[in-house]
Amino acid sequence: MFRNQYDTDVTTWSPAGRLFQVEYAMEAVKQGSAAIGLRSKTHIVLGCVNKANSELSSHQKKIFKVDDHIGVAIAGLTADGRVLSRYMRNECINYSFTYESPLPVGRLVVQLADKAQVCTQRSWKRPYGVGLLVAGLDESGAHLYYNCPSGNYFEYQAFAIGSRSQAAKTYLERRFENFADSSRDDLVKDALMAIRETLQGETLKSSICTVAVVGVGEPFHILDLETVQQMIDAFEIVGEQEGPAAEPDAAAAADQGGSTEEGVAPMDI
């Protein structure tokens, strides 16, 4: 009801205690193509759907290596994502140079969140329109974090962001309890299955998705097309038996539509 009056400035509160500009930024994340992440005790896998604008163009890069032990997948305004990735790479390399030791991912994520928060409290800035799935290893093991434009961050066992991510989330919710002890290959398989969920029936092939892995003894790297295609072929057969997860269309629609009606402010969750 009051949205239009209080949504021009990021520094204007609504009477209900919401910052609409920040919520709109989170909306931008939902419009981007899907990115998913899942982790076991020793490995984290990031995956994303690469949709090119036309057959003539290449697709946008959505997964970035930040350091040997940290990688990030983005959804939303990829330009903002690129800039934040550069910031993360800078922080990692400065820390490595001073301490000869990898920057703990938990600290990088806090620095990133603080950077995002600044943009929610300056009248001359706008929030970053990108959600980041940060995968990294530190002393305490494998971690997967989600950083959102509001400046909040959460740690996850598995998560999906972007358009049609609800389908992937439903798949992951069913399976996440097994992830902690999964082998690396099973984890990649689950990632590919989750990506397939977001494609809504379209055939999964390695040309439309990107998968990256980081784990103990395995520096962050993006898997090449042949490897990914092999893994897709390996389980597609099994996939016939399982069948794609049957989730109602309503769930997908609700994800894309406006969940920004008056009610629970998204960033409180």
């Binding site: 000869e100 030791s101 600290r107």
Partner: protein
């Protein structure tokens, strides 16, 4: 020709700072630090002397300090610079603790941080006049390294500063081995410190030995080494002396 000494300092290339801002020489100095890896962690020894040139002026200077949970720092050279370094490290550890996450800076990280500090000061021609020994243990991994005032750094199973390099390291090279017991480690360090006491003019007979293990850091009460002077050559030192002139 104007022979008046110009007030423009010769180091005008270095900017507006006056010469009094640069380190030229040390004033109150500590002598050697010796350290070695042993079974449970690191053992480090240093005497408690602070010399003022050739005067053995201060006799209660603690030249070894714990840094955070995992590290031990020993220093020789200018004592005031050591105190400055302790202040830097205090800030470093404080900010590290303020993150309040499961991560903490280990000895390797502290050592590299110190290397950066020392090297950067050296590049500004304003060094911290110390030779530092940084030892510690974290998650079972023992670490022992050293940094000099010009930023030279390396790790080893046993390290020493100053005279210790010349007198103690040869002993350690012969007699150090992996997995020394605590008692053997202390005995070995005392052997080194005794030689330094006999031969280093700035050494005093009041030392401390510090140990750092997974449990933490402990530092002994100051004590002195037994020395032997009953050599026959000392009894009548002038006996065989040839006349001076």
């Amino acid at each position: 020709m104007n022979f008046m000494a110009s007030k423009q300092p010769e180091n005008s290339l270095l900017g507006p700072e006056a010469d009094s801002q640069r380190t030229l020489y040390p004033y109150v100095t500590g002598t050697s630090v010796v350290a070695l890896k042993y079974k449970d962690g690191i053992l480090m020894a240093a005497d408690m002397g602070g010399s003022y040139g050739s005067t053995l002026r201060y006799k209660n200077v603690e030249r070894m300090k714990a840094i955070g949970k995992h590290s031990l720092l020993g220093a020789s050279g200018e004592i005031s610079d050591f105190q400055e370094i302790l202040r830097y490290l205090d800030d470093l550890i404080l900010y590290d603790n303020m993150w309040d996450d499961g991560n903490s800076l280990g000895p390797k990280e502290v050592h590299n941080y110190l290397t950066r500090v020392m090297y950067n000061r050296r590049n500004k021609f304003n060094p911290l006049w110390n030779s530092l020994v940084l030892g510690g243990i974290k998650n079972g991994q023992k670490y022992l390294g050293t940094v000099s005032m010009i930023g030279v750094n390396f790790e080893d199973d046993h390290v020493a500063t100053g005279f210790g390099n010349h007198l103690a390291r040869p002993i350690l090279r012969q007699e150090w081995h992996e997995n020394l017991s605590f008692e053997d480690g202390v005995k070995l360090l005392e052997k080194c410190m005794r030689v330094l006491l006999y031969r280093d003019r700035s050494a005093i007979n009041k030392l401390q030995i510090a140990k750092i293990t997974e449990e933490g850091m402990t530092i002994s009460q100051p004590y002195s080494l037994k020395t032997y002077w009953e050599f026959s050559a000392f009894e009548n030192p002038t006996q065989g002396a040839v006349g001076s002139w």
